[in-house]
């Protein structure tokens, strides 16, 4: 899908526009009136405490759940109102990295990365294998291409999941708690990878997380969800929110992160040119 509109006089639609979304599980509404936009090429965080509905919102964004009200559109095209084939067209344009990596356990890493290519491209088997190996090399896993997911560590599984999410060169990549279960160094490396993907490919990145160090290092903008409020209670750049927000919930959440990142010094983000 061509996501650019170079000759149009109309304003370029954002990568994602969420309007008045109402979502939840089993008839229980968790989030109401969720409205926000994610600009093209932006690193956008959905933050909030445990159980506030971050992952539920993500599941609605990627089409695993349907909202009870409201709409989600990608590059100006509504998503949930489309039929199956129409949705599939949109699904091709984004990749998702799940919390556990979600690699298909019966396939090797190369086969995991190759599957989206087999389904959606007319490449030959040899070309598919080459692209899959390249994607694995981009996340530093070329040597492990023939390993099964059970044979590698949690951090490697996440990187392999990222390689699979990048297989179709998506315009948007969603991350669900990318740092969950990772040690600080591996988590830092994953943050570096995310930055470089954005810098090299201009990919729009949406991250659901409560890892405050990553939020302050990576986020261009955030929205904060709150369980009690049942929706968005703040949006903006994280440091701007710390400086200007008068909401005690936002201050408590983000300032704790500021203190935590002061107390535990993190290594500088390596913003080198290549993805390794």
């Amino acid at each position: 899908m061509d996501t650019r509109a170079p000759f149009s006089a109309e304003p370029v639609p954002p990568a994602i526009r969420v309007e008045n979304l109402e979502c939840g599980y089993h008839g229980e509404v968790l989030l109401r009136n969720v409205t926000f936009e994610v600009r093209r090429g932006e690193i956008f965080f959905v933050i909030g405490g445990s159980g506030c509905g971050k992952s539920t919102l993500l599941r609605h964004l990627v089409g695993l759940l349907s909202p009870t009200k409201g709409s989600v559109s990608y590059f100006g095209r509504d998503f949930h109102s489309r039929d199956l084939a129409g949705r599939r067209d949109v699904l091709k344009t984004f990749g998702v990295l799940y919390q556990s990596g979600a690699l298909w356990s019966s396939l090797t890493l190369r086969e995991n990365v190759a599957l989206p290519l087999e389904l959606y491209t007319a490449l030959t088997r040899h070309e598919i294998e080459e692209v899959a190996t390249l994607k694995l090399a981009q996340v530093g896993l070329a040597k492990f291409a023939d390993y099964y997911p059970a044979e590698i560590s949690g951090g490697m599984r996440k990187r392999a999941g990222l390689a699979r999410a990048l297989a179709l060169d998506p315009s948007i990549v969603f991350f669900d708690e990318p740092s969950a279960g990772l040690d600080p160094i591996t988590s830092r490396k994953l943050d570096e990878l995310i930055l470089r993907i954005r810098e090299m490919f201009g990919t729009t990145i949406v991250i659901v997380s409560h890892e405050l160090a990553s939020i302050f290092d990576l986020a261009d903008r955030v929205i904060m969800l709150d369980r009690e409020a049942g929706g968005v209670i703040a949006s903006g750049a994280p440091r701007e929110l710390v400086a200007t927000s008068t909401d005690p919930r936002v201050q408590e959440f983000l300032r704790r992160g500021d203190r935590a990142s002061d107390a535990i010094p993190r290594p500088e983000l390596n913003r080198g040119p290549s993805i390794q």
Partner: protein, 375 residues
């Protein structure tokens, strides 16, 4: 008044001051050690106020709080006053917390009245039947989709499953079918010997195995072996978000995961049914030879006088049906599994129960249909 002498004098002593009972708490109050009972401490006294004081208390934990709770509860019942002004602040805080939660800890009656239970069970049955029907429909649609574009079909997964549910199941199917043949022959011999009709054991075993027991025993074995495995694998995949990953790629889990398993079982079950029937007949021949002194050739000739190709076809049709039932139950329960280890366990159990139940129902339905058709 002098302190009351009792077995717990190293932990507390009491004295009466007017209407007030003063308890001196001391020593080591540990939950792993003995604790005095309030009833014994109080004895036959009915104080209007109880005032604990700390005097030489070395260490304390929940044991002391439990004792105070007992006292507190007695005070609430009798209307006496529990005066805690001489207790340390930390102890007072914990007691205040206990007071807050105590009324909530009264056990709740979670029982359902029988009428509600029947209603809920009926509603649940309707939901389950609807779930099974909708899943069967999805599988049929998926089969059409894959027939239109065979490139989508995961042949490699299908072959792997064929090996798992076919070749790898041979030892257990062999053992069970042989033993079922032996049991049928022994049971038949008890009755038929009374009429001098030992030879008819061959008909009983042959017809029983080919039409009924071959397919049914294989179905039941595969329900426990393969159906449970399907449910556990798919449940685990759901827990690990592997199924979500397929869906966000625009791939139907039914096309990708269910159909190869159904095709594998649909292809393997008739072969396993024929094999099971043969092994059961072998079991019958062994008993006939060993117990009834009927030579194998006589057994075979007698069996062929009754059992013909139509019986074999009936057995094979049942085998295919039971195979599909096992596959559908396992995959359905796996995809419906909750995202937890306990949920996966429940899915596996439910897959076996559903498969066996549906196999018996299908067998009964086939009995009626084949009877009407004269097969």
């Amino acid at each position: 008044m002098a302190a009351r002498p009792d077995a717990f004098s190293d932990l507390l002593s009491t004295r009466i001051e007017g209407d007030e009972l003063v308890m001196s708490i001391r020593g080591r109050w540990l939950v792993t050690g003995p604790r005095p009972s309030w009833a014994k401490v109080r004895g036959d006294q009915w104080p209007v106020q109880i005032r604990p004081v700390v005097d030489g208390l070395e260490t304390w934990d929940s044991s002391l709080l439990l004792f105070f709770m007992e006292v507190h509860s007695w005070c609430r019942t009798t209307g006496a006053r529990f005066e805690q002004r001489d207790l340390p602040p930390r102890m007072c805080q914990l007691l205040a917390q206990l007071e807050e939660v105590e009324p909530e800890s009264i056990p709740q009656d979670r029982g359902e009245d029988p009428l509600s239970a029947v209603g809920l069970a009926a509603a649940d049955a309707v939901v389950k039947v609807r779930g099974i029907s909708s899943f069967v429909g999805e599988c049929v649609l998926s089969a059409f989709r894959v027939a239109r574009s065979p490139r989508l079909f995961r042949w490699r997964d299908c072959l792997g499953e064929m090996q798992q549910c076919g070749a790898m199941a041979l030892p257990i199917v062999s053992l069970i079918s042989f033993l079922v043949g032996v049991t049928l022959a022994y049971t038949g011999a008890i009755v038929l010997r009374q009429f001098g009709g030992d030879i008819w054991v061959a008909d009983l075993v042959g017809l029983g195995m080919v039409r009924e027991m071959g397919a049914m025993m294989t179905g039941i074995v595969l329900a426990g072996r393969t159906g449970a495995a399907f449910a556990a694998i798919l449940g685990n995949m759901k827990m690990n978000e592997e199924i979500d990953a397929l869906e966000t790629l625009g791939v139907s889990p039914v096309d990708f995961l269910v159909l190869p398993r159904l095709v594998a079982l649909g292809l393997m079950m008739p072969l396993l049914t024929l094999y099971a029937s043969a092994l059961g007949i072998l079991g019958g021949i062994s008993v006939a030879l060993g117990v009834l002194s009927i030579p194998p050739a006589a057994f075979w000739v007698e069996m062929l006088s009754l059992v013909d190709l139509s019986d074999t076809v009936v057995g094979v049709i049942k085998g295919i049906t039971f195979g599909l039932i096992v596959g559908l139950s396992g995959c359905l329960r796996g995809l419906q599994s909750e995202r937890s280890a306990a949920g996966v366990g429940k899915a596996a159990t439910s897959a076996v129960v559903t498969a066996i139940l549906l196999i018996i129902v299908a067998d009964a339905v086939y009995a009626v249909i084949f009877n009407i058709l004269g097969l």
